[in-house]
């Protein structure tokens, strides 16, 4: 029902994303041009002489005026050209593209873990106020946001690798005794299943558990907090009272009515959680030597490889805008009221 209204909402939401993307492009442009001193000197590398610096300056269009440079920059972006990495000599877009699946696999598994724990916990805490679950939820929520991800990661490594010996060494996505599965999606878990190689699947899963749990611990707090608050609000509303009065059973009320309505703010929170996760990803990847775009960016930062860093910032921002867009569209699909209100 109301399909045209909903399409209209989705369309207008897509249009709203355009100025944000333009803003992102402007900011990354400023960041690439705000390099201290002469960007051409940086991009040419440390051993460049005057002549090659001049060459780089022309190649980058730095001898042109700012607005002209901006158009060149946008043109490059449209062609998917993020410049060349100094560290590897390969195009930044290619480097990031190759590493992106590793980061996405980590992020998505972490979010699945954290939703699987946080949402039931939030519901439990809301349905039984002042119970053990409620207190556990409260402690978790306050402690969770105080945890520096890089530190939790190290503690987990110490306990599960050094003391207990359960986890493999924190050195990347796959132990060197395994071969990488043939690349289809770039997600090792999926690719190894597609190839029917269960040993590699378990190998990859083992490597993934600790970093994913580290990230998940970090994202648990906001999701649990929002689930609890939304469930409390939804449970105290009139339609729940009506449903109770009408004699519906507890399960139907809780999951059919209260939870369905409480999902909306939770889904919105997920957008914010993504922002934190993408940032925390960088730290977790560094701790676990995870070969994703985060650790690539950290290496690039240390090596003063600016094109790579700015390319990374740009890709992350676009990824984040896209995710938020997807969440908003999901939102309109969950909530049938939105189609009528906004249209």
């Amino acid at each position: 029902m109301a399909a045209p209204g909903r399409l209209k909402v989705i369309g207008s939401r897509l249009l709203q994303a355009i100025p944000v993307v333009i803003g992102v492009i402007i900011v990354t442009f400023i960041l690439t041009r705000a390099l201290p001193g002469d960007p051409a000197v940086y991009f040419a590398g440390t051993i460049a002489d005057e002549e090659s610096i001049q060459e780089v300056r022309e190649a980058l269009g730095l001898d042109k005026s700012m607005p002209e440079q901006f158009f060149y920059y946008v043109g490059d972006l449209l062609r998917g050209d993020l410049g060349t990495s100094l560290m590897t000599g390969l195009p930044v877009a290619e480097e990031l593209g190759r590493r992106l699946p590793a980061s996405l696999e980590l992020t998505l598994v972490a979010l699945i873990i954290s939703c699987a724990v946080a949402i039931p916990l939030g519901i439990l805490a809301a349905t039984r106020p002042n119970s053990l679950a409620d207190h556990a939820c409260r402690v978790l929520v306050t402690a969770g946001v105080s945890l520096p991800t890089f530190f939790t990661g190290l503690v987990l490594i110490y306990v599960f690798y050094y003391v207990l010996g359960w986890a493999p060494p924190p050195l990347g996505r796959l132990d060197f005794i395994f071969l990488e599965p043939p690349r289809v999606t770039g997600f090792f878990l999926i690719d190894s299943v597609l190839a029917g190689d269960w040993e590699t699947f378990w190998g990859a899963a083992k490597q993934l558990v600790l970093p994913a749990v580290t990230l998940a611990l970090f994202t648990l707090a906001p999701i649990a907090r929002m689930t609890r608050a939304a469930m409390l609000q939804s449970l105290s509303s009139d339609y729940i009272r009506t449903a109770r009065a009408a004699g519906l059973n507890g399960r139907t009320i809780l999951y059919g009515y209260a939870f369905h309505n409480a999902m909306l703010p939770v889904v919105t929170t997920l957008g914010m959680v993504f922002s934190f996760t993408l940032g925390a990803n960088v730290l977790v990847e560094k701790v676990f030597a995870w070969p994703g775009i985060g650790s690539f960016a950290v290496d690039a930062l240390v090596a003063s490889d600016y094109a790579a860093v700015q390319g990374f910032v740009f890709v992350m921002a676009i990824l984040f805008v896209a995710l938020n867009l997807a969440i908003d569209i999901l939102y309109t699909l969950i909530d049938p009221r939105i189609g009528f209100d906004a249209a």
């Binding site: 960041l31 600016y306 992350m316």
Partner: protein, 291 residues
């Protein structure tokens, strides 16, 4: 929502209200105690540290915690306890400076946008949306990369990514009051727009801002420590929690846990304190927001 049930009696004045909230929430009192401790260490850290945080002693390297070295010694034989204490000041300076900057910039931008509306509002809101369109930690990395790898730039980067939070609070608070009776009365009695905005309307935004400051401090500390963990800002011999955890990280896999654990715990404690404080302050300022 049953607001009435949650709102404690207000007529006895603000102080008794604060007392009421504190009594009903001893956790906030603990948070205030911890804050006192952190500030004390921040001010007197270098004076009470038992050893020189930079003095290395190769003969005494990588010793586990003992009576002489409570937190053990690091790979250069430096006393971890002294380094953790001394680091407190730098971490506090970075986060306080960053939060103060974003407080000021955010307040000015938010007040202008909320009071004047129109074009000013559109431009400010658009700019804030653009900042929020980035994963914030990633944007901070990009800013530090672009502006240069120094402690000041860590502060600026942390300030910039926090500006939207303040600006949004102030904009909302100012916007709902710009045509309020007391604001119009102040204008009619001959006050300029600026004066009405700064002295009559803006102070109303302070309580929610204070909550924001406290919640933000924890996240600013985390953010700054995260940046120095990946090698930005603070240079190696300087004691700072993030970089100490980073230096200790390589010894975790060989079992020397104390190098990274203690600075990490100090960091956690500081962040935890500010978060508790923020939650407690929010209960005082706005009981309805309690979750």
């Amino acid at each position: 929502m049953s607001d009435a049930a949650l709102t404690p009696p207000r007529q006895r004045g603000a102080l008794s209200h604060i007392g009421y909230v504190l009594r009903s929430n001893p956790v906030t009192m603990v948070a205030f105690g911890l804050l006192g401790l952190i500030l004390f260490v921040g001010v007197f850290g270098p004076a009470i540290a038992p050893y020189d945080p930079l003095a290395s002693n190769a003969a005494n390297a990588l010793q586990p915690p003992s009576a002489a070295h409570w937190f053990g010694t690091d790979n250069l034989g430096r006393d971890v306890f002294s380094r953790v204490l001394v680091a407190t000041r730098l971490d506090l300076i970075i986060s306080v400076a960053a939060v103060a900057l974003s407080f000021v910039i955010g307040s000015v931008l938010g007040a202008l946008a909320g009071y004047y509306g129109g074009i000013a509002d559109k431009v400010v809101s658009r700019a804030l949306d653009t900042i929020m369109a980035f994963p914030l930690f990633v944007l901070a990395m990009g800013i530090v990369a672009a502006m240069g790898n120094t402690i000041e730039n860590i502060i600026y980067a942390t300030a910039i990514i926090n500006v939207p939070f303040y600006a949004r609070v102030v904009r909302a608070e100012v916007n709902i009051r710009r045509d309020a009776g007391f604001a119009q009365a102040a204008k009619l009695s001959g006050n300029t727009d600026w004066r009405v905005l700064a002295l009559h309307i803006f102070p109303n935004a302070l309580p929610p801002l204070m909550v924001q400051v406290s919640l933000n401090m924890g996240w600013a500390i985390l953010n700054a420590a995260g940046l120095s963990f990946i090698g930005l800002g603070v240079r190696p011999p300087t004691p700072e929690w993030g970089i100490m955890v980073a230096e200790g990280a390589q010894y975790i896999v060989s079992g020397e846990w104390w190098l990274a654990l203690f600075p990490g715990l100090a960091l956690m404690l500081a962040v935890f304190t500010f978060n508790l404080l923020g939650d407690g302050l929010r209960d005082m300022v706005d009981p309805r927001m309690r979750t």
